[in-house]
Symmetry: C2
Subunit: 307 residues, 2 copies
């Protein structure tokens, strides 16, 4: 795969693209801070008739929760434009007619997942309700499992504990047909700006480690979200969709695996030195190249003095 | 590999074996209950001049802690006969001259590991002291890591939490040369007799999932413990060592990988139907066959009416 090029002709990119899919953290904001200039870029894209979606592997918020975050940062976005991995998990269960089985979901994860399951009327247990639970580990002690659990959904969970892991283990090892669904496999995440934090790869790895099972992945780089968007909005020519993100192993891999144009932004976790292989790549990002890269998405509409 | 045979000629086995290595849980005891007849079998083996060792993947106790457990069950065993995976982690660090680096160990796990590190004078942090810690995840929050950590040891930890996982993640991803050591990878363990419990595969999987790294394994089926025993006791002919255990994927694999005779006992997690492939094997045990199998180790000395 050839080296990524700096975007030097944004007007050509813009004329060849109808749909922009943006990752959020590192593209639109960093932690709780909006990246300067972003509202104006989004306004200009909309004015030019582009469709815009936001696709994030973060599962801790639902679409409605994300809408609140966008609003708090002064961005006017519709919930339908937001595809969080919490929504993706619900969409997967909907596509596979899970509700019709009458089964429940056990959640390792935060309220984004439970809110999305509530929104489509799927029963669930676990999640935030289990954050302080301890199993009875004395003689004869056991964790009682609801035998009607048909899927375990694992998303990022800062209150991961042994009770939840034992519950998931029992469901996946002992309940016939129980599905194992991961919102994402990100090794690290950005809970705060001060350092990298153990991501949902941690929680999924724990469940894989006691079951020997690999999950069905619904977040990036799996195709589920782009398939959903394409179908719902009738987008047939994927080469006219551009995925814009800061991560090679999720965003850019997602774009490349699914026939999209790809644009890396240096405003997040990937440095230009890393992209250009002047320093070693992070594990799992080796060989993944976007077609273009920008400093921030402001480069889509350079100021006249820059052009 | 040919089907396992039921041990029908114990005297021939006994005359060809100088050293017996026993797994503990499922072989000597089940949970907190001694398997009937075991003290007499061990006495007879000692009387016949056999060397006996106990090799367990359980890391929650140290050798000294195990000695107490043997004593409480009425078994007289020397600490030097006990090879727990907590000891194995310490032995690995000793073999690799870790102490001379002046570095510390971060522990995910219980007191077996910290006691073994204390016994050889290696500094450590984490473990039980971190069981109630929560990271500061507010704006600017971070987990401060001791930059002198040179290894993360991961053993079974019923108080696994996000603080410990984030600490381990930072050590392994950000401290150059930091080692990742796993006491064992057992998917499930037997905290209580009432059900199977998520084992140390859970904790190791979590750390692998946020680092992309595979650990150095010191417990079964890795060769470290048998190499240590062979060297320390000058045992050169491994075909005169018999590994006796209840698990195909740890005990029997450990024996077969290392040139030992192998004997499965049906007193633990493996049923005769599973061994004989009359029902599907558990994941990870496919194709692993012992040379012999017994109901319990009482079959080494059958009562006259049985012979």
């Amino acid at each position: 795969m050839s080296q990524a090029k700096k975007l030097d002709d944004p007007s050509s990119l813009l004329s060849n693209i109808d749909v922009f899919i943006f990752d959020c953290d590192g593209v639109i904001w960093r932690g709780d801070t909006l990246i300067p200039g972003v509202p104006s870029v989004l306004d200009q894209l909309r004015l030019a008739g582009k469709k815009i979606f936001f696709v994030t592997n973060n599962s801790t918020k639902s679409r409605v929760g994300y809408k609140s975050k966008f609003t708090s940062l002064g961005l006017d976005v519709h919930p339908e434009e937001i595809f969080s991995s919490s929504f993706a998990a619900a969409a997967y269960l909907e596509q596979t007619n899970f509700k019709q089985t009458g089964k429940k979901v056990y959640i390792i994860g935060e309220k984004g997942i439970s809110e999305e399951l509530d929104a489509i009327g799927i029963s669930w247990l676990g999640g935030e309700a289990d954050k302080a639970k301890q199993p009875d580990m004395g003689p004869g002690g056991r964790v009682e499992v609801d035998h009607n659990v048909g899927a375990v959904v694992v998303g990022f969970d800062r209150h991961i504990n042994y009770y939840k892991l034992q519950y998931a283990q029992l469901c996946l090892n002992e309940l016939p047909g129980c599905e194992f669904i991961a919102t994402n496999l990100d090794r690290v995440t950005h809970l705060t700006d001060a350092q990298e934090w153990a991501g949902n790869g941690t929680m999924v790895g724990a469940v894989s480690g006691c079951t020997g099972r690999e999950p069905t992945l619904v977040g990036k780089p799996a195709p589920l979200m782009i398939d959903y968007i394409s179908k719902k909005y009738g987008i047939t020519d994927r080469s006219r969709i551009c995925m814009v993100g800061d991560r090679l192993d999720t965003d850019i891999a997602f774009g490349r695996n699914n026939g999209l144009k790809t644009c890396l932004t240096l405003s997040g976790v990937t440095s230009e030195d890393e992209l250009m292989d002047r320093v070693p790549r992070k594990k799992g990002t080796e060989g993944i190249q976007p077609e273009f890269y920008v400093e921030t998405i402001n480069d889509f509409y350079p100021a006249p003095s820059d052009s």
